[in-house]
Amino acid sequence: MGSGLLREGWDAAIPLLELFDIRKDFGEGDVLRGVSLTVEPGEFLTLLGPSGCGKTTLLRVIAGLETPEAGRVLLEGRDITALPPEKRGVNTVFQNYALFPHMNVQRNIAYGLRLRGEKRAAIREQVERMLRLVRLEGYGRRMPSQLSGGQRQRVAIARAVALKPALLLLDEPLGALDLQLRRAMQLELKRIQKDLGVAFVYVTHDQEEAINMSDRIAVMRAGRVEQLGTPEEIYERPATRFAARFIGQTNLIPAEVVEASGHGELTLRAAGVTVPACGGAAVGDKVSVCVRMERVRCGAARPDGFALRARLAETRYAGGFLRSTLEVEGGLTLEAIGQDALGSRVGEECFVWWDPALAPVVPAEDAA
């Protein structure tokens, strides 16, 4: 996680950014209801959630563009909660870029450096370096209106990192780009982040973006961090139904725990069938079993161990893979995705199973 080089000379005990119980209420539903998290130097942290979950507001609180009603923001151990944005040493790449339309690319990038009162030659050198970094050499004299969306994006990044912040905030920076460009820019952003060793707090609602780029993801819902962890942790051990659904494609089977081994092995009763799963739950708990669609196995022959009788109801081509609907005994419906067709034909009886160790349970109801 993060670059080791940059951490040298750091007091390892002090994270780069710490948020304590940040609260904000606009009176219009867009709220923060007590958010705490930390960002390590050089880390790529993503705030992931649907629109209105408060992720952009949280970013603006870190930038100093919104004042929280409660809570503290610490940067390198220093309380910056009350500091205005210009005194924070944190820079932002805004949604839709927010370039200065009356300045050319050079002057956009030089804006912060000029305010700092740096020498002309130093500014020119830094601007050139930034143009090289974002691969826009020769575009210095263009006006923002003469650039494509992807190029504007690069200018916005160059402008924000020109001041060499320890922390860069990015608000859905790829949201306005088409899919292909977005994929290319994901790699590009990751490269820039590694090159500069700067920590990113990255806001997106795109789970694929979050998984591809992040060291850690904070899944946000309704003004709270629902789960904070590495992409793998969130994928393998979602904390809530919401987190399970927001990342990856998943079957959530409502069930009740009937047996718990104490080693995380569970036996559950769901819709008239008995299924195995894993996770921490007690007998009698109402839970949902989270079975990732690509982990649903299906075949004509009954395997050893756990399996359910099912009928393959439908198979659809879903671009590079197939998605199947399985009607399971007891009235359950499962979705499965895979590279190849399942071992059965549509309408045929088959068996369905999964690896219980890869099927965690989450609480049946998400907190409001």
Binding site: G64, E86, A98, L99, P101, G112
Partner: protein, 282 residues
């Protein structure tokens, strides 16, 4: 393609005809008679002369011009000083408050501006409500002379023309993405610096149109000037009116008019110059 374009041009035809008939033609008429000599009793003779223009250089009329420009400039700056912050508050307000503020700007248009100026006269007169209040509060011992002063005239001009400053400024500010200002702050600009380097240049087109819409009419709004300023000193509109209707000297009135049009034309040209330079990138 061509026939279609011709047909859309037809949509503009009635207005074009109207403008030609009632604006261009009379202006041409004014221009022509400004070069003619006045007749003994009424109207003009057919003798060509430059005397009317020569007379403009008379110190009296030079003073009228500088006085009018001075008043217009003061009215414009004052309108800008009051109107821009108001327009800013309006553009950045939440929808409900914005609607209320917009209403405040528009309501004055519901009654005649002449009536509203009479209202000001009542407010400002020696035994009017404002003086009564000042006396009661002991701020003055004798009723202050508020009406028939240059200050009252200026107040009337600003009052009458303020909406024409606010509306274009509002449009420009509203069109400005607030994140652009946020970006300036984020990159290290203090609020004042962000305003000067980003908000101001990007809303300059609105400021310029607002200034135009206040500056130009000020020269002609002589009834406001007469009623509140007591007709002391002369502004261009008043002098043109007098020359045309009282002094019965249409050629000289016409020459003054041509000079006024040239002056406002110059201001418009200047605005185009300034406005087009740094800011035409929307």
């Amino acid at each position: 393609m061509k026939p279609r374009r011709d047909r859309t041009a037809l949509l503009a035809a009635p207005m074009a005809a109207w403008m030609a008939l009632f604006t261009a033609l009379p202006l041409l008429y004014i221009l022509v008679i400004s070069f003619l000599q006045r007749d003994e009793t009424w109207g003009v003779t057919d003798i060509l002369t430059l005397d009317n223009y020569r007379r403009l250089l008379d110190p009296i009329y030079i003073k009228v011009f500088t006085g009018s420009i001075g008043l217009a400039a003061r009215a414009t700056l004052l309108s800008l000083a009051v109107g821009y912050p108001f327009a800013y508050a309006m553009a950045r307000a939440k929808p409900k408050r914005r609607a209320a503020l917009t209403l405040l700007v528009v309501i004055p248009f519901w009654t005649s501006s002449l009536m509203r100026v009479y209202g000001w006269m009542i407010l400002l007169q020696a035994n009017g409500p404002l003086n009564t209040l000042l006396l009661k509060l002991g701020i003055v011992e004798l009723p202050a002379k508020l009406l028939y002063t240059q200050g009252a005239a200026l107040l009337g001009m600003v009052y009458t023309l303020l909406p024409f400053m606010i509306l274009p400024c509002h449009t420009a500010i509203e069109r400005l993405d607030p994140r652009v200002t946020d970006a300036a702050r984020d990159l290290g600009a203090s609020p004042a610096k962000a305003f000067l380097t980003v908000t101001l240049p990007l809303t300059m087109p609105g400021i310029m149109s607002g200034c135009m819409l206040v500056f130009v009419p000020t020269m002609g709004l002589y009834y406001v000037y007469d009623l509140l300023g007591g007709g002391k000193g002369a502004i261009l509109g008043r002098v043109i009116h007098d020359q045309m209707l009282s002094a019965r000297n249409p050629p000289f009135g016409a020459a003054l008019s041509v000079a006024l049009i040239a002056l406002t034309g110059a201001v418009v040209a200047l605005q185009r110059r300034l406005g087009g330079r740094d800011i035409g990138f929307f």
